[in-house]
């Protein structure tokens, strides 16, 4: 249960961050949202998001292959969980 709660908390923090950084202005980000089409991120904004995620969650550097795989907010949550060792 403790792992599940930690994972959920991590996902919530990631969603909050993505919502606050949306190029369309601060808004609620849901796991099913498409980062580019629903939240207005372009390539530059995704790079910026990746850099902030690294700092905020103390991650190993995210390479662009991992960033390419990001389509939805849920994909970002999974990436952060994987890189932070919090499990899938």
């Amino acid at each position: 249960m403790e792992t599940t709660e930690t994972t959920e908390d991590l996902g919530r923090r990631v969603r909050d961050l993505i919502g606050r950084m949306s190029p369309l202005g601060e808004r609620t980000a849901e796991s099913h949202h498409d980062v580019m089409n629903d939240l207005g991120y372009d390539s530059v904004a995704i790079v910026e998001l990746a850099l902030v995620l690294e700092t905020e969650f103390e991650l190993q550097p995210i390479d662009d292959e991992q960033a390419f795989d990001v389509v939805t907010v849920g994909d970002v949550e999974q990436l952060v969980r994987r890189l932070s060792g919090a499990g899938a």
Binding site: M21, D42, V44, V47, L51, D64, F68
Partner: protein, 352 residues
């Protein structure tokens, strides 16, 4: 861009000498400012602070020290290339250009094999008219045709909107007010190579030994290569044109080429190719060597690889270095179209 307010001073507060000012002032002292005839002072003070992330106090110190700008005090307007080049030279580690370039070049940190393996990419490009009053009469649109086959790759699929856009060897051309959209899938490949001719090697080494630094600037200014290089800066078009001339003067067949660096960011690029004494046409990319200085830990073999190898991150066109990659004409004028580009690695890549 929006979160890091801790690095931004309270508006109006003017510290005597804000921390970190020295690095910025040193960068300003070395800055090649964009000449008057090429300047576009359209970036607001707020935009500059978002890009530089230096805080109001440092920006005021830069203005006082001579950073060129227009507009009244407190509402200054800046040239975007000046701001970009200043940021990159600042060493702050916080500015948007420094962080974006560092991210975009992380592939340079990888093992050499990763620069040559086949990679599949999906891409889409949409061109729109930049005129605020709307597109004028007789609109025409051109986007450079991607030619991955020049480096051993291939176009796997290409679609245009409108469907009837003309596809030539160098350009995709459309007419009409709806703009031009191009999407497709392609495969790039690299191939390791080594320069054999001592003459070619010496020309490249002499160029690198001059200690120039990379800078961004308008393409038309880059084409004045001798003027630009004399100021100690080396954008890709200037470097390519200069080296092409030196190779030809030394008796080697040489051409420049325009293309893109494939990755999260849409980076236009140019390089020079020379036919070595073994008869093989080899790319030479001294700018990649300069750029690798902004990657956090480039592989030690990367610099040598840029002298004669084809890299899978480069997407060639058939155009020479001075060409635009996208063009729009309407109302009797020529414009650089606004462009929205999305590049993704295709599922299942890399392939073998």
């Amino acid at each position: 861009m929006r979160l890091d307010t801790s690095r931004t001073a309270v508006p109006g507060a003017k510290a005597a000498v804000p921390a970190g000012t020295g690095g910025w002032l040193g960068a300003l002292a070395r800055l090649f400012t964009i000449p008057a005839e090429y300047r576009e002072e359209i970036v607001s003070r707020e935009g500059a602070l978002e890009m530089l992330r230096c805080g109001d106090g440092v920006l005021d110190a830069l203005i006082a020290a001579g950073l060129p700008c227009g507009g009244p005090a407190g509402a200054e307007l800046f040239d975007r290339y000046d701001l970009f080049n200043l940021s990159l030279a600042s060493g702050s580690g916080a500015s948007v250009p420094e962080r974006s370039i560092e991210f975009a070049l992380r592939w340079m940190n990888g093992e050499p094999d990763s620069w040559f393996q086949p990679l599949e990419w999906r891409f889409s490009v949409e061109l729109e008219c930049p005129r605020p009053e709307g597109c004028g009469d007789d609109p025409v649109w051109r986007l450079a045709m991607p030619r991955p086959e020049e480096f051993g790759g291939e176009v796997l699929m290409l679609e245009t909107s409108p469907d009837d856009a003309e596809r030539g060897p160098d350009w995709i051309t459309a007419r009409g007010s709806t703009g031009l959209g191009v999407r497709g899938r392609l495969r790039t490949r690299g191939r390791p190579g080594t320069l054999r001719s001592p003459v070619i090697r010496r020309i490249v080494e002499d160029f690198m030994a001059a200690g120039r630094r990379w800078a961004r600037m308008p393409e038309a200014l880059q084409c004045e290569d001798e003027r630009v290089l004399a100021h100690g800066v080396a954008p890709c078009i200037s470097a390519s044109l200069h080296l092409e001339r030196l190779f030809r003067a030394a008796g080697f067949e040489s051409v420049t080429r325009r293309g893109w660096i494939l990755g999260m960011l849409d980076l236009a690029h140019a390089w020079v190719e020379v036919v070595d004494e073994d008869g093989v046409r080899k790319p030479i990319d001294p700018i990649f060597v300069l750029l690798s200085g902004y990657a956090r830990s480039p592989h030690p073999r990367f610099a040598e690889t840029c002298r004669g190898s084809r890299l899978n991150r480069l997407l060639p066109t058939g155009l020479p270095a001075g060409s635009l990659l996208a063009y729009h004409g309407c109302g009797g004028d020529e414009h650089v179209p606004t462009r929205r580009t999305v590049i993704r690695r295709a599922a299942g890549a890399p392939t073998s």
